[in-house]
């Protein structure tokens, strides 16, 4: 039996094509995933991301624990409401998951982790807490739903749709969040997303999600499924956990060295392993320059210095061409031409540095 979000009936009623995504029955599109993609790049779209897991870490010393548990450094979070992207690592330096952490108060941090890894992550973090005999409490917030409203017009359309949201969020900088004071129940607005566009992720009591969804639709926000979410994040050069990285690779081989703070004196899980590692591989972008198909995960890539493999590939609606993330030998450089095996042929692709497109614009040609 697949799990259902609080918006499941709304998706069904809208005629969405549903798929099993990590054990959840989720909309892949509502008609055309390419049209939904363009709506987000050019106007505003919304995604039901209630399958992702919100978990609140409460108690004295929460920051100190996260300093140890996360690869990125929560000391970068100085003002309440600020958010940080980080990997959760195993001691051997490989990636357990990626997440966003919000600093709300010194005794309250909010984590948002991936759906398919949520149970594993919660168990892992509780294990670390137990090891340290910590009194901190980690509470999964399965009472909350989450709607991502994304696109250049997403913010103004959310303000139309949700009373009190403009006053609460108009001053928010990217990667920061705030609650709506006096809202019925707990409504939390974060200026974050997974599309390479401006917008918000709204967390709110599950029972209020259908009303907000309908109000957003009335304000002109187009429902978009996981199909468009995948092409948008890939254009934006963002990794998908389980596809571009997992417990077999380190963040240094996954384009995420910028999120690993090896410079500070603090110790964190995985640090010792990463300090001695010289990565032999890198995660980098490919742009298909030959006609003859679409780049896809698991296609083999031949380079002048060895072989690699595509981890995510698709047709980019913004570029009108096929793009991919690929794990290639570390010596491969931007601008190199490589060969990708597609069916019985080898097609040429150019190595590019992601992102491919953000903020409505193509960034590679």
């Amino acid at each position: 039996m697949l799990k259902q979000t609080p918006l499941h009936a709304v998706h069904r009623a809208a005629g969405a094509r549903m798929v099993d995504f990590g054990g959840w029955d989720m909309p892949v599109h509502y008609g055309s995933q390419i049209d939904e993609h363009h709506a987000v790049r050019n106007d505003a779209g919304m995604f039901d991301v209630s399958h992702m897991r919100v978990a609140d870490l409460t108690g004295a010393g929460a920051r100190d624990f996260l300093r140890y548990a996360l690869a990125n450094n929560v000391d970068k979070l100085k003002a309440p409401g600020r958010a940080l992207y980080s990997c959760l690592l195993r001691p051997e330096g490989t990636v357990l998951d990626d997440l966003i952490v919000y600093f709300l108060r010194e005794d309250l941090f909010r984590l948002v982790v991936n759906a398919g890894t949520a149970d594993k992550d919660i168990a892992w973090l509780r294990g670390l807490l137990a090891e340290r005999a910590s009194k901190l409490v980690l509470t999964p917030r399965t009472d909350l739903a989450m709607i991502a409203v994304q696109g250049p017009n997403a913010r103004t359309k959310l303000w139309q749709a949700l009373p009190g949201s403009e006053a609460a969020s108009a001053a928010l900088k990217p990667f920061s969040a705030a609650g709506i004071p006096g809202a019925t129940g707990e409504v939390f607005i974060a200026r974050t997303g997974y599309t390479g566009e401006d917008g918000f992720e709204v967390m709110l009591p599950a029972g209020q999600a259908p009303d907000l969804w309908h109000s957003l639709a009335a304000a002109g926000v187009r429902p978009a499924g996981l199909g468009a979410r995948d092409t948008l994040r890939l254009e934006a050069g963002m990794n998908l956990y389980g596809q571009d990285m997992d417990e077999s690779v380190t963040p240094l081989e996954s384009g995420l060295a910028w999120t690993v703070d090896l410079a500070s004196a603090r110790d964190f899980v995985g640090k010792a392993a990463l300090e001695t590692l010289k990565p032999a591989r890198q995660l980098i972008g490919l742009l298909l320059t030959d006609a003859g198909g679409v780049l896809r995960a698991h296609q083999k890539v031949r380079t002048a210095v060895g072989e690699g493999e595509i981890t995510s590939g698709t047709f980019s609606p913004t570029l009108g061409r096929s793009i991919a993330l690929a794990r290639l030998p570390a010596e491969v450089a931007t601008g190199d031409v490589v060969r990708v095996a597609i069916r019985e042929r080898e097609l040429c692709a150019r190595v590019v540095k992601p992102p491919f497109a953000r903020n409505g614009k193509a960034l590679v040609t």
Binding site: G293, R296, T314, F315
Partner: protein
């Protein structure tokens, strides 16, 4: 799901139309285009190629996935729809107008062995 009465079908979601000159036109069904989603790449067989029934002879790729199109009957490819690779979305918009190729069947009348509309509709749970 749209399953026109006058066409024949395969279990692998091709539609087949008998033309007046003895050839058959082949495309993908409305059910197939809907399942694949937005099409972005189509590869057609070479004119003159001889194909066996069930042989993979064209490729359709959507944003989501790549898929083969199989020859519904043995025969020779006598024409291809050259407009289609440049506008694969035509197969989403009107699956039964967007023909892929025409076959000269090696066995006349072989089309009668394919699924009729009722049988195909039943096979996709749409009877």
């Amino acid at each position: 799901m749209n399953v026109p009465e006058q066409l024949r079908y395969t279990a692998s979601h091709e539609w087949v139309r008998q033309e007046s000159d003895g050839t058959v036109s082949v495309g993908i069904t409305d059910h197939a285009q809907s399942a694949l989603g937005d099409l972005v790449y189509i590869e057609l067989p070479a004119v003159g190629r001889t194909v066996a029934a069930g042989e993979a002879c064209a490729v359709v790729e959507s944003v989501k996935a790549a898929s083969d199109l199989y020859a519904p009957l043995a025969g020779e490819v006598v024409a291809v729809n050259d407009a289609l690779p440049g506008a694969p979305e035509q197969a989403n918009q009107d699956a039964y107008a967007a023909w892929f190729f025409r076959l000269e069947p090696s066995e006349p009348g072989a089309i009668a062995k394919l699924l009729d509309a009722a049988a195909y509709a039943a096979s996709i749970g749409d009877a």
